[in-house]
Symmetry: C2
Subunit: 250 residues, 2 copies
């Protein structure tokens, strides 16, 4: 029995999220289906670094699984990609220590959120960016973002239907970069609560558009109340960009 | 009655091409359906600059139609976009001379073809580029392309199932540009035969990969035989980029 770690990417458009759900197409079920094919029908359980929601994309999701098959890693990659639909790709496969755990061993995660800033919508971007055609005060957004960096109780930035008790997380970095008509926000932290990145983006948009003041971030954090923060930005602008197992250093 | 000219873009992925076909989703039928909605169920015929095939995209397709409704052009754009699915967008609407004809008045057209050159496929590019993960000799491709520029009988680069008799066309320009992992080929000409751009791309790829010599373009043209040229490159890498009604000047 060997433990394998895979880095996978997926276009979230056609998935009801990562996690298995009855009668829905999910990333996990497609992956487990491909593995089942390779193991003569035996179910092989996959563990991911975390879930992603419907329409959310991934460039660097990480999963692990155990298998008795002795196939070289390049063979695993080829075999899995030949069995997977073309909106999921295995980018790499490596043999890891049997103690490695794709979820418990995560040291940091990087998410990106892409905003399409042009006044005109773009048919080619509609599933891959959130169209936000209004002017934004980037300086105010950066000021607000700086107040979120660090270790805080992010209750106000967490969907209320979560089961997690401890809502203290550390954000190491929030970066904003304009590329042509896109504004790309990067978030690196030791962990993110349910919908946390999307709620932060929604709140930063309210700051950028003047509906909220940047300095309000402090009182929103302190209030520990979801209703104080902004709307949850749509899933299709969000990318699980990278998962770090060795910690994150700027 | 007024004649309107619209520039439209569409993501070809979910369409069985531009032209109406029974029981298939096409760009024309979606556009005519939206217009019918605005005209109390009356059918409004749309004329395009030309057809595009299944999975082929458009950034600057041009159509015209006649309507008795007196709506300002911005109102037309808004109304049509609110009635259209989000993979078709009306980019602009203008009132034109009643003699304007979206097809007969075309002076030149520009197509682009996008190749994804990375060894690894990309889930986000799979519907928008043709994945070609092999090394290409760009100089040989440029040499071959130069032999196609000018006025020629393009019978060898035309799908055999066409009904067009006169296969003489003028290509003004073929350009190749490397952008990160993409190679983008641009084609401007006074008109293109059925599948002509895709067959030229397929043939240029055979030159770039060493299967054909660049100088063979001359004999392929002279042979007037489809079987002499290369394979038809897939539709999903192709974009109708712009339609010129005033002629084209470099």
């Amino acid at each position: 029995m060997r433990r394998y770690k895979c880095i996978i990417s997926y276009d979230g458009t056609q998935f009801s999220g990562y996690q298995v759900q009855p009668n829905k197409r999910t990333v996990q079920s497609d992956l487990e289906h491909a593995l089942q094919n390779m193991h003569k029908g035996e179910h092989i359980k996959i563990v991911a670094s975390g879930r992603t929601d419907a329409t959310v994309h991934a460039l660097g999701q990480v999963v692990h699984f155990d298998s008795p098959l002795s196939i070289p890693v390049e063979g695993w990659k080829k075999a899995l990609n030949s069995l997977l639909p073309d909106d999921i790709r295995v980018r790499s496969v490596e043999i890891v220590d049997p103690e490695f755990h794709a979820r418990f061993d995560v040291k940091a995660k990087e998410y990106r959120y892409r905003l399409w800033m042009s006044e005109e919508p773009c048919v080619f971007k509609r599933q891959y960016t959130h169209h936000y055609p209004y002017p934004l005060n980037l300086n105010a957004m950066k000021e607000a973002a700086a107040l979120l960096v660090g270790t805080h109780d992010f209750t106000s930035f967490c969907a209320s239907k979560t089961e997690v008790q401890d809502k203290v997380r550390t954000i190491y970095l929030i970066k904003m970069e304009k590329q042509d008509n896109e504004l790309i926000l990067s978030f690196i932290g030791n962990g993110f609560l349910y919908n946390m990145v999307r709620i932060i983006v929604g709140t930063l948009l309210e700051v950028g558009s003047g509906q909220k003041e940047a300095k309000m971030m402090t009182s929103i954090l302190a209030g520990k109340d979801r209703s104080l923060a902004g709307k949850t930005a749509p899933g299709h602008g969000l990318y699980l960009y990278q998962v770090y197992y060795e910690g994150w250093q700027e």
